[in-house]
Subunit: 485 residues, 2 copies
């Protein structure tokens, strides 16, 4: 494909994408395919000679669309949103088109420096404490996911604690020749709410350390006293607490751990405090939601995902450190091939993450922040919260349903009132089979409930009404069937 053909083909994709969004309401969000649908639609091997462009282009509708779950449908209400916007697509198109990336400053000064700038912009939008900004010890970095952010901060904190222990226990540090001190290492323990995302459990598995899942209160929050008690029990057992992850906006119900209580407990215990605000973090750009972040003053790291609720495509997860040097101490390995003049005074993102390469993600975020502006982004977040509240009213007005959790953001948790968990699970299955709306469900404190999330960037009240009518219709049929039996 030469550049003239590229001009033509890429523009055809642009038009396709624009048309896709213009007509998204015509597609059911849940695909109607069974496992293995795609294989018979394509050859068993790559072509020897190039395929024709038109065949590939037609395969988007023939092969891909039948099996696409439409995350950008107004009727997609599952999980939490994954971001997309025309602004970010322009930015990421530029990123791919230029084909430059930078794992160190010299390998792409623009990529490194733009990331520093947009992370500062974002930090200011969230009014993060100034220590988290660049210029001093702090600073942000874009990671792939909240999962990765949890893991890298945990690995950093593990190294901090092992380094501290080495003062009294001899070398227990990161020397891969000598290995670990098994006794010290096996006593490390991390904390989070029992409502934390499962990536916390996975991070502990990867890091080979214990997890103490602290029982959340009746509002599904981890409290300071509960954490303090957990730490005291473990210390009594001879364990070594080193890391705590607080969740702001849990996966199940968007509950908020009590950060103002948790921070001082962590500080007193001398352990790393990481904040996971993967979804809800975007709301902190609105002054009315910012109090939920109070207590961040004593945190060591903070993370949220612009690729969830800030109109930026996956992957784009924003992570800040109070003291980035701790990560560099934990991760950095030097090699002649990657060294350059002044490397000690610059920022090399490869020393702060698991992959060695670093995508130029800052570009898409830059386009989003500039093309929406802070006011535009605030309006977008508020619109989703407003629409969730509208949905909440609809549910509350129908006495066959109950809203199970407070609605503070874009999530409404609800269930069929006075019905068993099994019947509610059947209800979700019926909705999924119907395919006109996509919802998910979960269980917390032994109660199974459905989760309705406002996801699409252009969802209107009429869309919410449409989804609600589908939900009511499916519920009516199910409840009548149940009565008959």
């Amino acid at each position: 494909m030469d550049s003239d053909e590229f001009r033509q083909r890429a523009k055809q994709i642009v038009d396709y994408v624009a048309g896709y969004h213009d007509t998204i309401r015509q597609r059911r969000p849940v695909p109607d395919v069974t496992l293995g649908y795609l294989k018979p639609l394509v050859p068993a091997a790559a072509p020897e000679d190039p395929d024709k462009w038109n065949d590939i282009f037609e395969d988007i509708e023939r092969v891909i669309m039948p099996g696409l779950t439409h995350w950008q449908s107004p009727y997609f209400h599952g999980y939490y949103p994954v971001g997309q916007s025309f602004a970010e697509t322009c930015g990421d198109l530029l990123c791919n088109g230029l084909g430059s990336f930078g794992f160190s400053w010299i390998t792409c000064p623009a990529a490194t420096e733009l990331e520093i700038v947009v992370m500062d912009w974002l930090a200011k939008m969230l009014t993060l404490p100034s220590e988290f900004l660049s210029g001093g010890k702090g600073g942000g970095i874009l990671q792939s996911t909240a999962s990765e952010s949890t893991l890298v901060t945990m690995l950093t904190a593990r190294n901090v604690m092992l380094t501290r222990m080495s003062a009294t226990h001899g070398p227990v540090g990161r020397d891969v020749k000598e290995g670990i001190d098994g006794d010290v290492f096996s006593r490390l323990v991390a904390y989070s709410s029992d409502q934390a995302h499962l990536s916390m459990q996975r991070a502990c598995m990867f890091s080979a350390i214990r997890l103490h899942a602290v029982e959340s209160d009746d509002k599904e929050r981890m409290t300071g006293p509960a954490l303090a008690k957990a730490i005291a029990i473990d210390v009594e057992k001879g364990l070594i607490p080193f890391y705590c992850m607080a969740t702001l906006g849990t996966t199940a119900s968007c509950a908020f751990d009590d950060l103002k209580e948790i921070g001082p407990v962590c500080k007193k215990a001398g352990i790393w405090l990481h904040i996971d605000a993967a979804y809800a973090g975007s709301s902190f750009i609105c002054p009315e939601f910012r109090p939920l972040l109070d207590g961040v003053e004593v945190a060591d790291s903070f993370n949220f995902n612009p690729h969830k609720w800030l109109l930026t495509s996956f992957d784009c997860s924003a992570l800040w450190y109070r003291d980035s040097s701790k990560t560099i101490e934990a991760f950095s390995v030097k090699e002649v091939m990657f060294s350059y003049e002044h490397e000690d005074t610059t920022i090399d993102f490869s020393h702060r993450e698991i992959p060695f390469g670093h995508r130029f993600r800052a570009l898409k975020l830059w386009f989003v922040l500039r093309l929406y502006g802070v006011n535009g982004l605030q309006a977008y977040v508020r619109k989703h919260v407003y629409l969730a509240q509208e949905f909440e009213k609809l549910v509350a007005a129908d006495d066959r349903f109950e809203v199970t959790h407070p609605v503070t953001h874009g999530l409404v948790c609800f269930r069929l009132r006075q019905c068993s968990n099994d019947l509610n699970a059947l209800f979700l299955a019926k909705l999924t089979t119907d395919r006109r709306v996509y919802l998910t469900a979960t269980t917390s404190k032994d109660v199974y409930f459905l989760r309705f999330v406002v996801c699409w960037r252009k969802t209107e009240k009429s869309d919410i009404l449409y989804s609600w009518n589908v939900i009511r219709e499916v519920a009516t049929a199910l409840l009548e069937d149940t009565k008959k039996q």
Copy 2:
């Protein structure tokens, strides 16, 4: 930005990208900026109201271009290439534009199933053993980087060994409540050549296990006997070997570990064999290079980066397992919210990787494989090897230089003959300051040498001549300066 504006703006970016590649020869690959250049060019905070599109568009040249290292320049010869092609940019534009992604089958059947298909296509192109294909226990997955692939296979192998040990040592497994058996854990040891990429060392740090870097032979290869000796020494010490990474195409000089010797040693020792062919793996689609992969028959996992030498943008790293269930055993955590009907018979990539979300990377790779065809991709690889050999001839014909390593792929290692390492390092510094070409250098066996890699997809012999003339010119000036002193 509504869809009409998107049609207009995105097409403007398409034209910009096309023009960028058309005129890439006019830009020096090394940017002329100093640390901190970008900050004064942009505001200190995100705009309150949206910026104008034209201002953003103009900032590409004003803010980004001055600091861009041009990885797609014909005169960029550093590290190894990072892929880009018009085909892949079309595919990734579609990926971003659709805004769908799938961490499990149900969350996007098309994403999961297309990835299975293209990974099978690729596996067949490489003639990987059939066990690595989907359908049985094997199967591929796209990861971000070779670093991540090394880490996830190491974590998998760690779990395999701990599970095996638990038969004789009681529970030492992945239970995050009970923690690890510090004694067993601290005795785990992994192996690679001392020429392996630094991500091996980092993976060991992250995994908290020992690394035994096996001394490579005079051809910079890890041999079977050297590995066997290292394992024997460690077993004697009471250590527990569990993982070996063989490198096919080392970072320094593109040397190839002796896979045919290493495999049986690993098998005899009962340890996991992972193959890192990050750069050179792409060449195995050509029959004449495929013998370098002989021995893969006994490997447990194999990885290479289409984002290096197969015209696909970062990130896109292809990883296959002989038995994927081992990874699932190591990584999988179940939760109600993510469960769905038939989940046990489908493939959920989130159970096989560190991030929980999974980008629809298969789309760009699909576009590349179809728009080039196997023949087109083979021709592309062969062209780079031919151009490297042409450069090798130029170097060899100038008696001020010496070629230090065999040229088998797209890399030529060379240095100023009979000059100190320091003078050669100064030579690289002069080239970098000159900015017309970009090369890197490294040290192996105490010898410092420069690395010249053919990187751009459309590099011609005239481009190689241009780079060579710059290199000669800078060398001449340096050697004359040196004589004068």
